[in-house]
Subunit: 226 residues, 2 copies
DNA sequence: GCAAATATGATAGTGTTACTATTATATTTG
DNA sequence: CAAATATAATAGTAACACTATCATATTTGC
């Protein structure tokens, strides 16, 4: 796995950063440790000053890569969804049967990141946890429409459309393909959150995975072709 | 409707406030206008100082009712879910048929608040919009486990259990009743958000309601009894 | 009706956050 | 090796999230 992805660069909207963090050692360190620090203390308590201290750098240097921590969060989550999109396309590429393809897609998009897949400097296991806890905050804001117009959520939108297409390939008459796709994407993050913090509100745990719930849910709601 | 609810007091965890805002005119004004101001500028931009200016009062006076704006948000959302719970119990009280009961329950919990139902000082239409945009922020924090232990999410938890019970009443063998209930509750807020800001990710709009999607989803995933 | 208690308002102050600007010092590159 | 570029250090500002204190209303109990 590692070697396959090793040379892959996930594309992120250029307006999310001032200077491409992939272009320097400091940039990579910023990205790497912003994930770890956010995971440690939460996005609310995360500041550029603390991050600077963590990586032995200065606040002002971080501002040369990212305008503010909101943009940094958008960068991290875009990267995550871009990575997921890559996994999705890769995992479903050669599957003919629409139902098998959809199931595989849901599996990829709802599973927890277990393997230490670690592309270069980014720890995807931790990033997944950060996305579970923080992704909603990136769009639940008054600036969402402007930012969406600027393409800051383009990767996520595209991913949702891909999943929707897989749904339609199984049942072209299903009346809510987009809603079902967005429910699976967002719902998966939510179920992962619940299993950590509100275990009474979900059956999901280490044995019963969110993927099982969502595959069951989607399969039963679609009319399967003969 | 109004007269029915007029004397109802929604119970909210006492540790969410320093002084009960229902106990004074100022307290009610704080609650009333915190909803309106949060709706106007978003929770991130909301401050006690701005709220004070809005209601012709002082920042320091607001602190005598709420420790901080996070607790105020928890208060508002607890109130909202308490109000929803009341509606749920009321609307499903005399329904015998489990399927009908479940459908009605989902309807109540996923519909948008349209009527100007206005209990005393609280505008529920606006509060619903606030909950759609801000509820996730109340639990996506590092303090969630401690706060959950303190019972700050008790109303929501109870509501999810009620919905789960309705699911089990229809199909006692369904393997994911809690996950389904939490998916409906959280998913409904999400679909309402999407229809305002990411219309391409949902079929829901003014004609096709989130309720229709979720009733269809739940009905098809459960094995209905003969 | 008045004193005491309580609620509210006004002001000031503290430490932190979220930056911006400037200057100095490394490091890289042509 | 000089010039360009990147990073670090420092300082400064306005807003935020409070806390504390004191003054002034308003309510209440006798």
């Amino acid at each position: 796995m590692k070697s396959l992805f090793a040379s892959l660069k996930i594309e992120v909207n250029r307006n999310l950063y001032v200077k491409d963090p992939e272009s320097s050692a400091l940039g990579k360190k910023i990205v790497e440790h912003s994930i770890l620090l956010t995971h440690d203390i939460g996005f609310e308590h995360f500041t550029f000053k603390k991050l600077g201290a963590k990586i032995g750098s200065n606040e002002s240097s971080i501002y040369r890569y990212f305008e503010n921590k909101h943009k940094l969060l958008l960068y991290l989550t875009s990267w995550y969804w871009g990575w997921k999109e890559y996994q999705l396309v890769f995992a479903t590429a050669n599957i003919e049967d629409p139902k098998k393809k959809l199931e595989t897609g849901i599996q990829v998009l709802t599973r927890s990141v277990e393997r230490d897949s670690f592309i270069s400097h980014i720890d995807e296991v931790i990033l997944h946890k950060v996305v579970i806890n923080e992704y909603s905050k990136s769009f639940l804001s008054k600036e969402v429409d402007r930012e969406n117009k600027e393409g800051f959520f383009a990767v996520y939108n595209r991913l949702a459309v891909r999943l929707k297409e897989m749904v339609l390939a199984v049942d072209s008459n299903y009346p809510f393909p987009s809603s079902l796709a967005s429910t699976v994407l967002e719902g998966a993050l939510h179920q992962h959150f619940l299993k950590e913090h509100f275990s009474s509100l979900t059956e999901c745990n280490d044995k019963i995975l969110p993927s099982q719930f969502f595959i069951h849910l989607v399969s039963s709601t679609l009319n399967l072709p003969k």
